[in-house]
Amino acid sequence: MLKKFVSSFLALLLLVGCGAGQSAGTDPAKDAEKIVSELGIGDKMEAVQERVVRGLFFFDEGLIEKCSVYIANDKTADVVGVFDTSDPKAAREKIDAYLASAKEQMQNYYPDEVFKIDNAVVEEKGNRIVLIVTSDIESAKKLAQSVLG
């Protein structure tokens, strides 16, 4: 009986620990909001609905467990996204495809924005991926690393 209790307790401890180890364990919405705020681009960024995120990035069903994405409302290329995914490799591929498509678009209409996409920050740790497309590339890198812990 005692043996069972101890093994169950240990299993529970393990479960609690695994969840936190995947990422910083923080809410993607809070992290995305923090990035937008600290980059000083809050005025032009809008959080988009989850169904729009799925449509824009064409994430397969179940690929993204939780996410928060802000997109610029002034036709610049700026994007901030924090994604908790079940498959970082697959999610990364979708994000890269989004960036490739966005770059083609910007080349046609807003070529001055292309450098942001060329220097997009895409950082991952565990099951979390952070995407930042903006002009302040150095700050973006630091913030991505900061929220990934």
């Binding site: 799925r54 036709k75 083609e104 910007m106 209409y109």
Partner: protein, 260 residues
Amino acid sequence: MKRNILVGCAFLLALCGCKGDTSAKKSETDETVYEEVTYACRAVDYYNYAQPVPASDPIEDSYFDDVLFAGDSRMGAMYLWGTIPNAQVEYVTSLNLWLIDSMPLDNHSDGRTMYDELSETEKGNIYLLFGINEIRNSEEYFEGWANEQYQSLITMLREKNPNVNIYILSTYHPREISGLPEPQLSEHLTWVNSRLASLADRNYIYFLDLDNGMTDEEGLIREEYVGDGLHFGPTGTHALEDYIKTHVVRRSTYVKEVCE
């Protein structure tokens, strides 16, 4: 849905008003018995929504008092070069339909979005031209794009005004587009246009196939219409206007009352 409503209304009217003829017949006992015969009338829409809008006589200019043209930068040509002053034109350069409620309209400075405009319009005829900015995506992408996002837009327009006439314009075949060479471009255009046609059919709305009338012998948009291979210049815009004027569905041609 609009067709169902029309049919339903006509049927109800008919039930109320068409109770016309009564005929008499003699019974075996020579007593006159009146048997009521009821005629039910309904409006039947014979338009084939599975086909592109056919050519017709040019519509009168006043039609455009009640028209809204909405789309991406290709529709912007109507704003820049158009000669229909009474039509309303709204466009967003590089618009992705998924961002219809966040990207600002080009011809406004107050941050209004295409979705704001479409959700508030009272125009009875709405022309939609979307899809070129998403063209580099996969076929699966267009499933969600058409069946979820475009469909939600159509549903919103219909809920707001059940009698609105919606025309979906096909994504015409550009002469070239960066990052998507042939034959992939043709393949992607097939993906998007087949879904647009299907969307029109499912929702009983009209599909304008610009590839059937504005393209050359190779199936590309005519060179003289587009300066950069994609966007209409003045000549192309006037050709588009003529195409639209001669491809308007008159409901009176297709909706007939049938009484039984």
